[in-house]
Symmetry: C2
Subunit: 396 residues, 2 copies
Amino acid sequence: MRRMTARPASAHQARLLKLLRDGGPNSRAQLGDQVDLSRSKLAVELHRLLDTGLVVADGLAASRGGRRSHNVRLNPRLRFLGVDIGATSVDVAVTNAELEVLGHLNQPMDVREGPVAVFEQVLDMAGKLKAAGLVEGFDGAGIGVPGPVRFPEGVPVAPPIMPGWDGFPVREALSQELGCPIMVDNDVNLMAMGEQHAGVARNVADFLCVKIGTGIGCGIVVGGQVYRGTTGSAGDIGHIQAVPGGRPCACGNRGCLEAHFSGAALARDAVQVAQQGLSTDLAARLATNGTLTAADVAAAATAGDTTALELIREGGTRVGEVIAGLVSFFNPGLLVIGGGVTGLGHTLLAAIRTQVYRQSLPLATGNLPIVLGELGSTAGVTGAARLISDHLFSPA
Amino acid sequence: MRRMTARPASAHQARLLKLLRDGGPNSRAQLGDQVDLSRSKLAVELHRLLDTGLVVADGLAASRGGRRSHNVRLNPRLRFLGVDIGATSVDVAVTNAELEVLGHLNQPMDVREGPVAVFEQVLDMAGKLKAAGLVEGFDGAGIGVPGPVRFPEGVPVAPPIMPGWDGFPVREALSQELGCPIMVDNDVNLMAMGEQHAGVARNVADFLCVKIGTGIGCGIVVGGQVYRGTTGSAGDIGHIQAVPGGRPCACGNRGCLEAHFSGAALARDAVQVAQQGLSTDLAARLATNGTLTAADVAAAATAGDTTALELIREGGTRVGEVIAGLVSFFNPGLLVIGGGVTGLGHTLLAAIRTQVYRQSLPLATGNLPIVLGELGSTAGVTGAARLISDHLFSPA
DNA sequence: GATCTTTGTCCTGTGAGTGGAGAAAGTATG
DNA sequence: CATACTTTCTCCACTCACAGGACAAAGATC
């Protein structure tokens, strides 16, 4: 199948495409209400969009007391590929133009194997989705990587946890390979975009999205747009000092947030308390598996193990202290907690909430919801699809 | 004199006004180079601006090898009032439309006396500037207050250090009183705008401007625009925890940055070391004046007093620790240090630099200049004038 | 069947904006 | 000093985006 390569020719067309993406099928009249154009102009622009094939007719809507309207929608054959590369696993998903996930695969993997090995696996997973008949070809792809990215060139820069990726031209290489346009961003930013599009952060202008996985990062959204900073490292909060003179960190400093709480740190702590005999539950799990992960701690906590609960509470307090500072500084309208450790759930959330509400200014916290992400592992891939659709649905 | 009340009628006109404000007198040809309009359209818009009186002809420019061009400039009779209300003093200045300070007054004052008393003094100072013949009337005024402001309504909200101001309709009251349009903002934001317009932050898209005076605040500029947060309290970093379990703070918590370093905290520390006999220099100053201020510490440090230097270094380290976290989070392109304590100068700056470069990520600090503000006490009033000019030079 | 509503199309008028011709006002050159 | 070349600025004709009204189509209500 030949893929659509059309791009909107005007800001009006871009606006309409985004309305159809975010609002689904729509009648001309409904679009007219949202877009402040005369019906004639709207008709012209829609005709042009229909000509490009990006938009198709979608039958008649129910009558609202008069003539029935002709619905339009984004071409249902459009397909985006969303790829979320984490430190220890990859998520690959296919979405339609409305960014609904049609198929989703997840596989363990180690980023440190380097870009070539990882992308081989990504292409393999994309192939499986094709074989499942969900898609014949991709009209665009969004890629998230766990480290800073020079945007919009799509090149990782000095990523601490993925040394072999520094300077690798992800965008260029992969758009060759996949034969479609590509955009690359930090995985945390994509999670924020995912929650913004389809999750808890819909219609919030300014918010923070803290992702706690193997590491810790924070997506920053200002005025509905992801803020990436001067060199693309904005939101890199894992190495903020959480405990003065605290634990040594891989970065060379002491007391970094990531050294005190993250998926990796939590697993280390769990092994330690298990070996010290402080938790029979964790000790049993350690004996069975030979190792422990954050998920084990979550399971132990759910089973009521007080030591596991205490580990989570302790870590949440550390994270909460740092976030409290960021809340005072940034004054967000919403704070989203997500990432691999959301399994730790409400124990973690409660610890963070306590700390933020205690330490931040009342004016900043007075009306600040602090919530868990709603999309789980689909946040990243949805955000990736949104990234590329934002790009493709902008004037060329 | 009747004041100009005209506003630009189109985005093009607004653009031209801002170019003339930031670039001074300009020929049509030069404007054309910056504005991407045909010469004919440019001529039309300029004619309209000349008709409003906002712009006037300004003689002929030197020849560049052909016909000499007719310069235009903003009406030299336009006057803005810039007011910067601090915790312990007020700055009032008059500027022309190009935001050059034509006259500047500073007087000690205590904000806690409340808005009525303070504005009486402000109006009195404005009257003196009028009497000096610098101005007949004001075309607009910008007001900075030392606390969070609900923007753009211009109403202080829950300001910790100025209790009597909560909810006082500054914008409404003062625009009545002065008979011209008014905009109100946080003093820290205005300092950032001042340094952006005429100081070290020219042409920097994303930067932070830390103001250390009686309290501590931080102006945040994203994409050239001041970011104010969801409730207007963004940048309020004075109560971020700097020392876990540290000194008690007026806000009820312990270890707040402001409790450990600010003009007020530094003065307290200075009195203490003087009484303990740790510094003969400070002890002498205390005996003479009966009290000590941050300025005394600065003087003692300049005179080589090691205890004073140590106080500054110690405080700068505390501030630097907090700022290091913000730099990791925000990844600015520039960090400006300003406010009353800039008298502490390079000792303070060195301490902050050391801490930030040590603790923040190399990617965020690699190309990050950390500098003192360039404008001193004119930053606030210049920013205030810029605030109102941004407002007046936007389409009505 | 008559009337009212809603939707969509066609058409014309208006105003924004471009680009070229040419006048005005300079400089450089033989 | 005349000529050629440059730069600036204005005027004018033409194009294009867009609004808004007239009108047709299609349905609801009574």
